[in-house]
Symmetry: C2
Subunit: 283 residues, 2 copies
DNA sequence: GCATAATCATCGATATGATCGATGTACGCC
DNA sequence: GGCGTACATCGATCATATCGATGATTATGC
Protein backbone atom coordinates (compact mmCIF):
# COMPACT_ATOMS: atom_id res chain seq x y z
CA UNK A 1 0.00 0.00 0.00
CA UNK A 2 2.79 2.41 0.82
CA UNK A 3 4.40 1.60 -2.51
CA UNK A 4 1.08 2.27 -4.22
CA UNK A 5 0.88 5.64 -2.49
CA UNK A 6 4.44 6.80 -2.95
CA UNK A 7 5.61 5.07 -6.11
CA UNK A 8 9.06 4.10 -4.89
CA UNK A 9 10.32 1.59 -2.36
CA UNK A 10 12.57 4.14 -0.67
CA UNK A 11 9.76 6.66 -0.25
CA UNK A 12 7.47 3.94 1.08
CA UNK A 13 10.12 2.94 3.61
CA UNK A 14 10.53 6.55 4.72
CA UNK A 15 6.76 6.97 5.09
CA UNK A 16 6.53 3.85 7.23
CA UNK A 17 9.68 4.71 9.19
CA UNK A 18 11.42 1.55 8.05
CA UNK A 19 14.63 0.88 6.22
CA UNK A 20 14.51 0.36 2.50
CA UNK A 21 15.66 -3.30 2.61
CA UNK A 22 12.78 -4.11 4.93
CA UNK A 23 10.24 -2.99 2.34
CA UNK A 24 12.04 -4.91 -0.40
CA UNK A 25 11.98 -7.97 1.78
CA UNK A 26 8.28 -7.61 2.53
CA UNK A 27 7.38 -7.14 -1.11
CA UNK A 28 9.34 -10.20 -2.11
CA UNK A 29 7.72 -12.30 0.60
CA UNK A 30 4.29 -11.09 -0.47
CA UNK A 31 4.93 -12.17 -4.03
CA UNK A 32 6.18 -15.59 -2.93
CA UNK A 33 3.28 -16.05 -0.56
CA UNK A 34 0.62 -15.10 -3.09
CA UNK A 35 2.37 -16.77 -5.99
CA UNK A 36 1.52 -13.79 -8.15
CA UNK A 37 3.45 -11.17 -10.06
CA UNK A 38 2.74 -8.02 -8.12
CA UNK A 39 5.77 -5.94 -9.08
CA UNK A 40 7.73 -5.21 -12.16
CA UNK A 41 11.18 -3.70 -12.37
CA UNK A 42 11.03 -0.81 -14.73
CA UNK A 43 14.14 1.21 -15.33
CA UNK A 44 15.74 1.84 -12.00
CA UNK A 45 12.38 1.84 -10.29
CA UNK A 46 9.56 -0.52 -9.47
CA UNK A 47 5.95 -0.55 -10.51
CA UNK A 48 2.87 -2.37 -9.28
CA UNK A 49 1.22 -4.65 -11.81
CA UNK A 50 -2.58 -4.46 -12.12
CA UNK A 51 -2.75 -7.40 -9.72
CA UNK A 52 -0.48 -5.59 -7.30
CA UNK A 53 -2.58 -2.48 -7.49
CA UNK A 54 -5.77 -4.39 -6.83
CA UNK A 55 -4.13 -6.04 -3.83
CA UNK A 56 -3.06 -2.65 -2.51
CA UNK A 57 -6.66 -1.44 -2.78
CA UNK A 58 -7.93 -4.52 -0.97
CA UNK A 59 -5.33 -3.91 1.69
CA UNK A 60 -6.66 -0.41 2.20
CA UNK A 61 -10.13 -1.86 2.65
CA UNK A 62 -8.83 -4.27 5.27
CA UNK A 63 -7.10 -1.47 7.15
CA UNK A 64 -10.25 0.62 7.03
CA UNK A 65 -12.20 -2.25 8.54
CA UNK A 66 -9.61 -2.67 11.29
CA UNK A 67 -9.68 1.05 12.01
CA UNK A 68 -13.46 0.90 12.28
CA UNK A 69 -13.25 -2.01 14.73
CA UNK A 70 -10.71 -0.11 16.79
CA UNK A 71 -12.90 2.99 16.82
CA UNK A 72 -15.85 0.93 18.00
CA UNK A 73 -13.78 -0.51 20.77
CA UNK A 74 -12.47 2.90 21.83
CA UNK A 75 -15.96 4.35 21.84
CA UNK A 76 -17.11 1.51 24.04
CA UNK A 77 -14.13 1.81 26.40
CA UNK A 78 -14.59 5.54 26.78
CA UNK A 79 -18.30 4.98 27.47
CA UNK A 80 -19.29 6.90 24.38
CA UNK A 81 -21.06 3.87 23.03
CA UNK A 82 -22.21 0.44 23.99
CA UNK A 83 -25.24 -1.47 25.04
CA UNK A 84 -25.61 -3.00 28.49
CA UNK A 85 -28.20 -5.70 29.04
CA UNK A 86 -29.85 -5.54 32.45
CA UNK A 87 -32.21 -8.00 34.10
CA UNK A 88 -34.41 -6.64 36.90
CA UNK A 89 -37.34 -7.92 38.92
CA UNK A 90 -40.67 -6.14 38.31
CA UNK A 91 -40.82 -3.72 41.24
CA UNK A 92 -37.26 -2.60 40.59
CA UNK A 93 -37.98 -2.29 36.87
CA UNK A 94 -40.73 0.17 37.79
CA UNK A 95 -38.74 2.22 40.29
CA UNK A 96 -34.94 1.95 40.37
CA UNK A 97 -34.43 1.24 36.66
CA UNK A 98 -36.23 4.33 35.31
CA UNK A 99 -34.23 6.49 37.70
CA UNK A 100 -31.02 4.78 36.66
CA UNK A 101 -31.81 5.16 32.97
CA UNK A 102 -32.40 8.85 33.47
CA UNK A 103 -29.14 9.31 35.36
CA UNK A 104 -27.23 7.18 32.85
CA UNK A 105 -28.58 9.17 29.92
CA UNK A 106 -27.35 12.36 31.54
CA UNK A 107 -23.93 10.98 32.48
CA UNK A 108 -23.14 8.80 29.43
CA UNK A 109 -25.38 9.86 26.53
CA UNK A 110 -23.94 7.23 24.19
CA UNK A 111 -24.63 4.32 26.49
CA UNK A 112 -27.76 2.26 25.98
CA UNK A 113 -29.58 0.01 28.42
CA UNK A 114 -31.60 -3.05 27.46
CA UNK A 115 -34.03 -4.05 30.21
CA UNK A 116 -35.36 -7.56 30.68
CA UNK A 117 -37.78 -8.36 33.49
CA UNK A 118 -36.72 -11.44 35.40
CA UNK A 119 -37.09 -12.79 38.91
CA UNK A 120 -33.80 -13.39 40.76
CA UNK A 121 -33.26 -17.11 39.97
CA UNK A 122 -34.13 -16.49 36.34
CA UNK A 123 -31.81 -13.48 36.29
CA UNK A 124 -28.93 -15.57 37.65
CA UNK A 125 -29.50 -18.11 34.89
CA UNK A 126 -29.43 -15.36 32.29
CA UNK A 127 -26.17 -14.04 33.70
CA UNK A 128 -24.65 -17.49 33.49
CA UNK A 129 -25.93 -17.95 29.94
CA UNK A 130 -24.54 -14.58 28.94
CA UNK A 131 -27.96 -13.25 27.94
CA UNK A 132 -27.52 -10.23 30.19
CA UNK A 133 -24.47 -8.44 31.53
CA UNK A 134 -25.77 -7.37 34.94
CA UNK A 135 -28.87 -7.91 37.07
CA UNK A 136 -30.88 -6.35 39.86
CA UNK A 137 -31.93 -9.07 42.27
CA UNK A 138 -33.24 -9.36 45.79
CA UNK A 139 -32.67 -11.90 48.55
CA UNK A 140 -34.16 -12.56 51.93
CA UNK A 141 -31.78 -12.78 54.89
CA UNK A 142 -31.68 -16.53 55.24
CA UNK A 143 -31.56 -17.36 51.56
CA UNK A 144 -28.32 -18.86 50.22
CA UNK A 145 -26.54 -16.85 47.55
CA UNK A 146 -27.12 -18.07 44.01
CA UNK A 147 -24.37 -20.17 42.58
CA UNK A 148 -21.61 -18.73 40.44
CA UNK A 149 -22.80 -15.16 40.54
CA UNK A 150 -21.57 -12.29 42.66
CA UNK A 151 -24.04 -10.07 44.48
CA UNK A 152 -23.51 -6.75 46.21
CA UNK A 153 -26.27 -5.39 48.42
CA UNK A 154 -27.10 -1.76 47.60
CA UNK A 155 -30.29 -1.27 49.55
CA UNK A 156 -32.28 -2.70 52.46
CA UNK A 157 -35.84 -2.88 51.27
CA UNK A 158 -38.17 -2.55 54.26
CA UNK A 159 -41.16 -4.92 54.32
CA UNK A 160 -44.54 -3.51 55.25
CA UNK A 161 -47.81 -4.96 56.32
CA UNK A 162 -50.49 -3.97 53.84
CA UNK A 163 -54.11 -3.96 54.99
CA UNK A 164 -57.43 -2.49 53.82
CA UNK A 165 -57.66 1.16 54.83
CA UNK A 166 -60.50 0.28 57.24
CA UNK A 167 -58.28 -2.07 59.19
CA UNK A 168 -55.36 0.37 59.51
CA UNK A 169 -53.69 -0.46 62.82
CA UNK A 170 -52.38 3.13 63.16
CA UNK A 171 -48.89 4.26 64.10
CA UNK A 172 -46.66 2.35 66.43
CA UNK A 173 -45.08 -1.11 66.27
CA UNK A 174 -46.98 -3.59 64.18
CA UNK A 175 -47.90 -6.97 65.62
CA UNK A 176 -48.63 -9.52 62.93
CA UNK A 177 -50.38 -11.69 65.53
CA UNK A 178 -53.25 -9.17 65.43
CA UNK A 179 -53.99 -10.56 61.96
CA UNK A 180 -53.66 -14.24 62.81
CA UNK A 181 -57.29 -14.86 62.04
CA UNK A 182 -57.37 -12.80 58.88
CA UNK A 183 -57.04 -14.31 55.43
CA UNK A 184 -53.71 -13.64 53.78
CA UNK A 185 -52.57 -12.83 50.26
CA UNK A 186 -49.00 -13.52 49.27
CA UNK A 187 -46.66 -12.54 46.46
CA UNK A 188 -44.25 -14.65 44.54
CA UNK A 189 -43.07 -18.08 45.68
CA UNK A 190 -39.91 -16.83 47.35
CA UNK A 191 -41.85 -14.08 49.15
CA UNK A 192 -44.30 -16.66 50.39
CA UNK A 193 -41.51 -18.34 52.34
CA UNK A 194 -40.57 -15.07 53.99
CA UNK A 195 -44.19 -14.39 54.87
CA UNK A 196 -44.52 -17.79 56.52
CA UNK A 197 -41.32 -17.18 58.48
CA UNK A 198 -42.52 -13.79 59.74
CA UNK A 199 -45.86 -15.20 60.84
CA UNK A 200 -44.22 -18.15 62.52
CA UNK A 201 -42.09 -15.66 64.43
CA UNK A 202 -45.32 -13.95 65.52
CA UNK A 203 -46.68 -17.27 66.70
CA UNK A 204 -49.22 -18.32 64.08
CA UNK A 205 -49.57 -19.92 60.66
CA UNK A 206 -51.28 -17.67 58.13
CA UNK A 207 -54.21 -18.81 56.12
CA UNK A 208 -53.22 -18.16 52.48
CA UNK A 209 -56.23 -17.23 50.41
CA UNK A 210 -54.53 -16.08 47.25
CA UNK A 211 -51.10 -15.78 45.65
CA UNK A 212 -49.77 -13.59 42.86
CA UNK A 213 -46.42 -12.06 42.01
CA UNK A 214 -48.16 -9.00 40.59
CA UNK A 215 -47.97 -6.33 43.32
CA UNK A 216 -50.72 -4.28 41.69
CA UNK A 217 -53.10 -7.23 41.68
CA UNK A 218 -52.18 -8.13 45.25
CA UNK A 219 -53.00 -4.61 46.47
CA UNK A 220 -56.33 -4.68 44.65
CA UNK A 221 -57.20 -7.89 46.44
CA UNK A 222 -56.28 -6.35 49.77
CA UNK A 223 -58.19 -3.15 48.98
CA UNK A 224 -61.33 -5.14 48.26
CA UNK A 225 -61.11 -6.75 51.67
CA UNK A 226 -60.03 -10.23 50.57
CA UNK A 227 -57.17 -10.30 53.03
CA UNK A 228 -53.93 -8.67 54.16
CA UNK A 229 -50.38 -9.06 52.87
CA UNK A 230 -46.75 -8.14 53.26
CA UNK A 231 -45.10 -6.16 50.49
CA UNK A 232 -41.59 -4.71 50.10
CA UNK A 233 -40.94 -1.00 49.87
CA UNK A 234 -40.13 -0.97 46.18
CA UNK A 235 -43.45 -2.54 45.28
CA UNK A 236 -45.24 0.09 47.31
CA UNK A 237 -43.14 2.85 45.85
CA UNK A 238 -44.09 1.66 42.37
CA UNK A 239 -47.77 1.54 43.15
CA UNK A 240 -49.85 2.31 46.25
CA UNK A 241 -53.55 1.51 46.07
CA UNK A 242 -55.62 4.37 47.59
CA UNK A 243 -57.71 2.00 49.65
CA UNK A 244 -54.91 0.25 51.50
CA UNK A 245 -52.76 1.24 54.46
CA UNK A 246 -49.12 0.29 54.94
CA UNK A 247 -47.18 -0.17 58.16
CA UNK A 248 -43.47 -1.08 58.30
CA UNK A 249 -42.63 -4.35 60.00
CA UNK A 250 -39.67 -3.89 62.30
CA UNK A 251 -36.58 -5.90 61.35
CA UNK A 252 -38.14 -7.32 58.23
CA UNK A 253 -36.41 -6.47 55.00
CA UNK A 254 -35.07 -7.94 51.80
CA UNK A 255 -31.70 -7.07 50.34
CA UNK A 256 -31.65 -5.39 46.91
CA UNK A 257 -28.55 -6.52 45.13
CA UNK A 258 -26.55 -5.82 42.02
CA UNK A 259 -25.53 -9.16 40.64
CA UNK A 260 -22.85 -9.94 38.09
CA UNK A 261 -21.21 -13.02 36.72
CA UNK A 262 -17.55 -13.84 36.45
CA UNK A 263 -14.55 -12.17 37.98
CA UNK A 264 -13.73 -8.48 37.69
CA UNK A 265 -12.67 -6.47 35.85
CA UNK A 266 -15.98 -5.94 34.20
CA UNK A 267 -16.29 -3.82 31.06
CA UNK A 268 -16.42 -0.10 31.74
CA UNK A 269 -19.96 0.16 30.45
CA UNK A 270 -21.14 -2.49 32.91
CA UNK A 271 -19.36 -0.75 35.77
CA UNK A 272 -20.99 2.53 34.76
CA UNK A 273 -24.43 0.94 34.91
CA UNK A 274 -23.59 -0.62 38.27
CA UNK A 275 -22.59 2.80 39.54
CA UNK A 276 -25.82 4.55 38.58
CA UNK A 277 -27.88 1.64 39.93
CA UNK A 278 -26.06 1.95 43.24
CA UNK A 279 -26.64 5.69 43.40
CA UNK A 280 -30.36 5.52 42.71
CA UNK A 281 -30.71 2.67 45.24
CA UNK A 282 -29.18 4.40 48.23
CA UNK A 283 -31.14 7.58 47.58
CA UNK B 1 -12.24 -15.66 16.84
CA UNK B 2 -11.29 -19.23 17.65
CA UNK B 3 -12.26 -18.61 21.24
CA UNK B 4 -15.60 -17.25 20.05
CA UNK B 5 -16.14 -20.38 17.99
CA UNK B 6 -15.04 -22.97 20.50
CA UNK B 7 -15.72 -21.42 23.87
CA UNK B 8 -12.50 -22.49 25.57
CA UNK B 9 -8.88 -21.48 25.17
CA UNK B 10 -7.72 -25.08 24.96
CA UNK B 11 -10.19 -25.98 22.23
CA UNK B 12 -9.27 -22.84 20.34
CA UNK B 13 -5.60 -23.78 20.56
CA UNK B 14 -6.35 -27.29 19.29
CA UNK B 15 -8.39 -25.91 16.38
CA UNK B 16 -5.57 -23.60 15.38
CA UNK B 17 -2.89 -26.24 15.95
CA UNK B 18 -1.19 -24.16 18.59
CA UNK B 19 -0.35 -24.77 22.18
CA UNK B 20 -2.69 -23.48 24.86
CA UNK B 21 -0.23 -20.94 26.34
CA UNK B 22 0.15 -19.37 22.91
CA UNK B 23 -3.55 -18.54 22.75
CA UNK B 24 -3.51 -17.22 26.31
CA UNK B 25 -0.58 -15.02 25.37
CA UNK B 26 -2.29 -13.71 22.25
CA UNK B 27 -5.48 -12.90 24.11
CA UNK B 28 -3.59 -11.05 26.80
CA UNK B 29 -1.63 -9.06 24.23
CA UNK B 30 -4.84 -8.21 22.40
CA UNK B 31 -6.37 -6.85 25.56
CA UNK B 32 -3.30 -4.78 26.36
CA UNK B 33 -3.06 -3.49 22.80
CA UNK B 34 -6.71 -2.47 22.58
CA UNK B 35 -6.89 -1.28 26.16
CA UNK B 36 -10.28 -2.96 26.49
CA UNK B 37 -11.76 -5.70 28.59
CA UNK B 38 -12.36 -8.46 26.07
CA UNK B 39 -12.32 -11.46 28.38
CA UNK B 40 -13.68 -12.41 31.72
CA UNK B 41 -12.63 -15.30 33.90
CA UNK B 42 -15.70 -17.26 34.85
CA UNK B 43 -15.36 -20.37 36.93
CA UNK B 44 -12.52 -22.38 35.52
CA UNK B 45 -13.21 -21.08 32.04
CA UNK B 46 -13.09 -17.87 30.10
CA UNK B 47 -15.78 -15.85 28.38
CA UNK B 48 -15.80 -13.07 25.82
CA UNK B 49 -17.31 -9.80 26.95
CA UNK B 50 -19.74 -8.08 24.55
CA UNK B 51 -16.79 -6.00 23.37
CA UNK B 52 -14.75 -9.14 22.81
CA UNK B 53 -17.54 -10.73 20.88
CA UNK B 54 -17.93 -7.69 18.65
CA UNK B 55 -14.21 -7.72 18.00
CA UNK B 56 -14.35 -11.40 17.08
CA UNK B 57 -17.11 -10.63 14.57
CA UNK B 58 -15.09 -7.77 13.09
CA UNK B 59 -12.14 -10.11 12.84
CA UNK B 60 -14.22 -12.56 10.84
CA UNK B 61 -15.13 -9.74 8.48
CA UNK B 62 -11.48 -8.87 8.04
CA UNK B 63 -10.58 -12.47 7.30
CA UNK B 64 -13.41 -12.72 4.80
CA UNK B 65 -12.08 -9.66 3.02
CA UNK B 66 -8.58 -11.13 2.94
CA UNK B 67 -9.93 -14.41 1.59
CA UNK B 68 -11.74 -12.51 -1.13
CA UNK B 69 -8.57 -10.66 -2.08
CA UNK B 70 -6.68 -13.94 -2.21
CA UNK B 71 -9.37 -15.53 -4.38
CA UNK B 72 -9.20 -12.59 -6.78
CA UNK B 73 -5.47 -12.96 -7.01
CA UNK B 74 -5.68 -16.70 -7.59
CA UNK B 75 -8.30 -16.22 -10.29
CA UNK B 76 -6.06 -13.73 -11.98
CA UNK B 77 -2.97 -15.92 -11.71
CA UNK B 78 -4.78 -18.93 -13.09
CA UNK B 79 -6.09 -16.79 -15.98
CA UNK B 80 -9.67 -17.25 -14.88
CA UNK B 81 -10.11 -13.54 -14.48
CA UNK B 82 -8.42 -10.30 -15.22
CA UNK B 83 -8.47 -7.40 -17.59
CA UNK B 84 -5.61 -6.67 -19.96
CA UNK B 85 -5.35 -3.25 -21.55
CA UNK B 86 -4.07 -3.30 -25.11
CA UNK B 87 -3.08 -0.45 -27.38
CA UNK B 88 -3.11 -1.12 -31.10
CA UNK B 89 -2.76 0.96 -34.26
CA UNK B 90 -5.91 1.24 -36.40
CA UNK B 91 -5.24 -1.37 -39.10
CA UNK B 92 -4.25 -3.94 -36.47
CA UNK B 93 -7.28 -3.04 -34.37
CA UNK B 94 -9.41 -3.96 -37.34
CA UNK B 95 -7.64 -7.21 -38.22
CA UNK B 96 -5.34 -8.85 -35.68
CA UNK B 97 -7.15 -7.72 -32.55
CA UNK B 98 -10.59 -9.15 -33.43
CA UNK B 99 -8.95 -12.48 -34.28
CA UNK B 100 -7.00 -12.37 -31.01
CA UNK B 101 -10.08 -11.51 -28.99
CA UNK B 102 -11.91 -14.44 -30.50
CA UNK B 103 -9.05 -16.83 -29.76
CA UNK B 104 -8.61 -15.43 -26.24
CA UNK B 105 -12.31 -15.83 -25.48
CA UNK B 106 -12.08 -19.47 -26.49
CA UNK B 107 -8.89 -20.17 -24.58
CA UNK B 108 -9.40 -18.05 -21.42
CA UNK B 109 -13.09 -17.24 -21.09
CA UNK B 110 -12.58 -15.22 -17.92
CA UNK B 111 -9.98 -12.92 -19.39
CA UNK B 112 -11.07 -9.54 -20.72
CA UNK B 113 -9.33 -7.26 -23.20
CA UNK B 114 -9.61 -3.48 -23.26
CA UNK B 115 -8.64 -2.05 -26.61
CA UNK B 116 -7.33 1.47 -27.12
CA UNK B 117 -6.41 2.71 -30.57
CA UNK B 118 -3.03 4.37 -30.60
CA UNK B 119 -0.24 4.94 -33.09
CA UNK B 120 3.13 3.44 -32.05
CA UNK B 121 4.74 6.47 -30.37
CA UNK B 122 1.51 7.17 -28.49
CA UNK B 123 1.31 3.50 -27.53
CA UNK B 124 4.86 3.57 -26.13
CA UNK B 125 3.95 6.59 -24.02
CA UNK B 126 0.89 4.80 -22.68
CA UNK B 127 3.00 1.78 -21.76
CA UNK B 128 5.39 4.02 -19.87
CA UNK B 129 2.54 5.81 -18.16
CA UNK B 130 0.97 2.50 -17.19
CA UNK B 131 -2.25 3.28 -19.06
CA UNK B 132 -1.97 0.02 -21.00
CA UNK B 133 -0.24 -3.29 -20.27
CA UNK B 134 0.78 -4.32 -23.78
CA UNK B 135 0.72 -2.80 -27.26
CA UNK B 136 0.68 -3.75 -30.91
CA UNK B 137 3.03 -1.43 -32.78
CA UNK B 138 4.80 -1.32 -36.10
CA UNK B 139 8.19 -0.05 -37.15
CA UNK B 140 9.93 0.54 -40.46
CA UNK B 141 13.33 -1.07 -40.92
CA UNK B 142 15.47 2.00 -40.37
CA UNK B 143 13.48 3.41 -37.43
CA UNK B 144 15.14 3.35 -34.00
CA UNK B 145 13.40 1.38 -31.31
CA UNK B 146 11.33 3.45 -28.91
CA UNK B 147 12.96 4.16 -25.58
CA UNK B 148 12.36 2.04 -22.53
CA UNK B 149 9.99 -0.41 -24.15
CA UNK B 150 10.69 -3.91 -25.42
CA UNK B 151 9.41 -4.94 -28.85
CA UNK B 152 9.22 -8.38 -30.41
CA UNK B 153 8.46 -8.66 -34.13
CA UNK B 154 5.68 -11.12 -34.84
CA UNK B 155 4.93 -10.39 -38.48
CA UNK B 156 6.47 -8.83 -41.58
CA UNK B 157 3.78 -6.68 -43.10
CA UNK B 158 4.31 -6.46 -46.86
CA UNK B 159 3.84 -3.02 -48.44
CA UNK B 160 1.85 -2.78 -51.64
CA UNK B 161 1.45 -0.18 -54.31
CA UNK B 162 -2.20 0.81 -54.54
CA UNK B 163 -3.48 2.31 -57.80
CA UNK B 164 -6.82 2.93 -59.48
CA UNK B 165 -8.09 -0.28 -61.08
CA UNK B 166 -7.70 1.34 -64.49
CA UNK B 167 -3.95 1.79 -63.96
CA UNK B 168 -3.31 -1.78 -62.72
CA UNK B 169 0.25 -2.59 -63.80
CA UNK B 170 -0.56 -6.32 -63.86
CA UNK B 171 1.46 -9.15 -62.42
CA UNK B 172 5.22 -9.16 -62.18
CA UNK B 173 7.67 -6.96 -60.34
CA UNK B 174 6.44 -3.47 -59.64
CA UNK B 175 8.57 -0.52 -60.64
CA UNK B 176 7.62 2.59 -58.68
CA UNK B 177 9.43 4.68 -61.28
CA UNK B 178 6.55 3.99 -63.64
CA UNK B 179 4.50 6.28 -61.36
CA UNK B 180 7.09 9.02 -61.02
CA UNK B 181 4.84 11.51 -62.78
CA UNK B 182 1.67 10.48 -60.99
CA UNK B 183 0.31 12.37 -57.98
CA UNK B 184 0.75 10.56 -54.69
CA UNK B 185 -1.37 10.11 -51.58
CA UNK B 186 0.32 9.18 -48.34
CA UNK B 187 -0.74 7.82 -44.96
CA UNK B 188 0.37 8.83 -41.57
CA UNK B 189 3.46 10.90 -40.86
CA UNK B 190 5.73 7.94 -40.18
CA UNK B 191 4.50 6.16 -43.33
CA UNK B 192 5.24 9.28 -45.35
CA UNK B 193 8.93 8.91 -44.53
CA UNK B 194 8.95 5.33 -45.73
CA UNK B 195 7.17 6.32 -48.96
CA UNK B 196 9.75 9.00 -49.65
CA UNK B 197 12.55 6.49 -49.03
CA UNK B 198 11.03 3.95 -51.43
CA UNK B 199 10.57 6.51 -54.16
CA UNK B 200 14.09 7.83 -53.70
CA UNK B 201 15.32 4.26 -54.12
CA UNK B 202 13.35 4.15 -57.38
CA UNK B 203 15.04 7.34 -58.47
CA UNK B 204 12.41 10.07 -58.11
CA UNK B 205 10.74 12.35 -55.60
CA UNK B 206 7.00 11.84 -55.39
CA UNK B 207 4.57 14.68 -55.70
CA UNK B 208 2.40 14.45 -52.56
CA UNK B 209 -1.15 15.54 -53.34
CA UNK B 210 -2.87 14.47 -50.13
CA UNK B 211 -2.15 12.88 -46.76
CA UNK B 212 -4.34 11.00 -44.28
CA UNK B 213 -3.78 8.26 -41.73
CA UNK B 214 -7.22 6.84 -42.50
CA UNK B 215 -6.63 3.90 -44.85
CA UNK B 216 -10.27 3.86 -45.95
CA UNK B 217 -10.14 7.53 -46.94
CA UNK B 218 -6.82 7.05 -48.70
CA UNK B 219 -8.21 4.20 -50.82
CA UNK B 220 -11.24 6.28 -51.72
CA UNK B 221 -8.97 9.02 -52.95
CA UNK B 222 -6.99 6.54 -55.04
CA UNK B 223 -10.17 4.94 -56.38
CA UNK B 224 -11.44 8.29 -57.54
CA UNK B 225 -8.25 8.75 -59.50
CA UNK B 226 -6.66 11.44 -57.35
CA UNK B 227 -3.36 9.57 -57.15
CA UNK B 228 -1.60 6.39 -56.15
CA UNK B 229 -0.28 5.29 -52.75
CA UNK B 230 1.58 2.65 -50.79
CA UNK B 231 -0.31 0.78 -48.08
CA UNK B 232 0.68 -2.06 -45.76
CA UNK B 233 -0.93 -5.49 -45.91
CA UNK B 234 -2.97 -5.11 -42.71
CA UNK B 235 -4.63 -1.95 -43.99
CA UNK B 236 -5.59 -3.73 -47.20
CA UNK B 237 -6.75 -6.78 -45.28
CA UNK B 238 -8.98 -4.56 -43.20
CA UNK B 239 -10.48 -2.82 -46.20
CA UNK B 240 -9.95 -3.12 -49.95
CA UNK B 241 -11.78 -0.61 -52.14
CA UNK B 242 -13.35 -2.36 -55.16
CA UNK B 243 -11.99 0.23 -57.60
CA UNK B 244 -8.32 -0.05 -56.66
CA UNK B 245 -5.66 -2.58 -57.55
CA UNK B 246 -2.80 -3.68 -55.25
CA UNK B 247 0.64 -4.97 -56.13
CA UNK B 248 3.30 -6.03 -53.60
CA UNK B 249 6.51 -4.04 -53.61
CA UNK B 250 9.50 -6.37 -53.37
CA UNK B 251 11.57 -5.94 -50.23
CA UNK B 252 9.30 -3.31 -48.74
CA UNK B 253 7.69 -4.18 -45.43
CA UNK B 254 7.06 -2.91 -41.93
CA UNK B 255 7.56 -4.98 -38.79
CA UNK B 256 4.47 -5.71 -36.66
CA UNK B 257 5.56 -5.87 -33.04
CA UNK B 258 4.26 -6.78 -29.65
CA UNK B 259 5.57 -4.14 -27.29
CA UNK B 260 5.77 -4.26 -23.51
CA UNK B 261 7.29 -2.16 -20.78
CA UNK B 262 9.50 -3.20 -17.92
CA UNK B 263 11.39 -6.39 -17.30
CA UNK B 264 9.86 -9.86 -17.35
CA UNK B 265 8.24 -11.69 -15.76
CA UNK B 266 5.01 -10.15 -16.93
CA UNK B 267 1.71 -11.11 -15.35
CA UNK B 268 0.26 -14.34 -16.70
CA UNK B 269 -2.71 -12.53 -18.23
CA UNK B 270 -0.41 -10.24 -20.21
CA UNK B 271 1.63 -13.22 -21.41
CA UNK B 272 -1.56 -14.97 -22.47
CA UNK B 273 -2.60 -11.96 -24.55
CA UNK B 274 0.87 -11.78 -26.06
CA UNK B 275 0.59 -15.45 -27.01
CA UNK B 276 -2.71 -15.12 -28.86
CA UNK B 277 -1.53 -11.95 -30.58
CA UNK B 278 1.55 -13.82 -31.79
CA UNK B 279 -0.52 -16.73 -33.07
CA UNK B 280 -2.98 -14.61 -35.05
CA UNK B 281 -0.10 -12.59 -36.47
CA UNK B 282 1.90 -15.45 -37.96
CA UNK B 283 -1.19 -17.04 -39.48
C1' DG C 1 -16.09 -34.02 51.80
C1' DC C 2 -12.23 -35.25 49.50
C1' DA C 3 -9.83 -36.73 45.44
C1' DT C 4 -9.64 -36.00 40.57
C1' DA C 5 -9.92 -33.84 36.23
C1' DA C 6 -10.16 -29.75 33.61
C1' DT C 7 -9.00 -25.02 32.52
C1' DC C 8 -6.21 -21.15 32.23
C1' DA C 9 -1.90 -18.32 33.84
C1' DT C 10 3.01 -18.10 34.38
C1' DC C 11 7.81 -19.13 33.48
C1' DG C 12 12.12 -20.15 31.10
C1' DA C 13 14.14 -21.80 26.83
C1' DT C 14 14.22 -21.99 21.96
C1' DA C 15 13.68 -20.80 17.25
C1' DT C 16 11.70 -18.20 13.81
C1' DG C 17 11.57 -14.04 11.50
C1' DA C 18 11.84 -8.87 11.23
C1' DT C 19 14.93 -5.21 10.95
C1' DC C 20 19.08 -2.71 10.09
C1' DG C 21 23.56 -1.13 8.10
C1' DA C 22 26.77 -2.04 4.64
C1' DT C 23 27.51 -3.31 0.13
C1' DG C 24 26.54 -4.67 -4.70
C1' DT C 25 24.17 -3.90 -9.15
C1' DA C 26 21.56 -1.58 -12.67
C1' DC C 27 19.79 2.46 -14.62
C1' DG C 28 19.12 7.38 -15.84
C1' DC C 29 21.04 11.93 -16.08
C1' DC C 30 24.29 15.49 -17.01
C1' DG D 1 31.60 8.45 -19.52
C1' DG D 2 31.24 9.67 -14.62
C1' DC D 3 27.90 10.40 -11.02
C1' DG D 4 23.73 9.99 -8.40
C1' DT D 5 19.60 7.33 -7.56
C1' DA D 6 16.99 3.16 -6.65
C1' DC D 7 16.52 -1.48 -5.55
C1' DA D 8 18.61 -6.24 -4.27
C1' DT D 9 21.53 -8.95 -1.36
C1' DC D 10 24.06 -10.24 2.74
C1' DG D 11 25.27 -10.95 7.52
C1' DA D 12 24.33 -9.63 12.25
C1' DT D 13 21.20 -8.46 15.74
C1' DC D 14 17.08 -8.12 18.19
C1' DA D 15 12.23 -8.87 19.09
C1' DT D 16 8.83 -12.10 19.76
C1' DA D 17 6.06 -16.25 18.84
C1' DT D 18 5.96 -20.74 20.40
C1' DC D 19 6.44 -24.67 23.32
C1' DG D 20 6.77 -27.75 27.42
C1' DA D 21 6.54 -27.81 32.24
C1' DT D 22 4.46 -26.16 36.19
C1' DG D 23 1.20 -23.76 39.27
C1' DA D 24 -3.39 -21.90 40.73
C1' DT D 25 -8.23 -22.29 40.62
C1' DT D 26 -12.56 -24.47 39.96
C1' DA D 27 -15.98 -27.92 38.68
C1' DT D 28 -17.11 -32.86 39.04
C1' DG D 29 -17.55 -37.53 40.74
C1' DC D 30 -17.43 -41.01 44.19
Amino acid sequence: MALHRTGTVSAAAAQLHYGQPTISHHLRRLEVETGSVLLQRVGRGLRLTPDGERLAIRGAEVLALLARAEAELDASTSLQAGQVRLAAFPSAAATLVPAAVSLLARRHPGLGLDLVEAEPPEAAAMLRAGTVDIALTFAYPDQPEADGVTSVTVHEDQLSLVVPRALDPGDGPVDLADFADTRWVTGCERCRGELLALCELAGFTPQIAFASDDYVAVQSLVASGLGVTVLPGLALRAHLHPDVARRPIGGAARAIQITTYGAPPHPAAVEAVAAVLTEVSVA
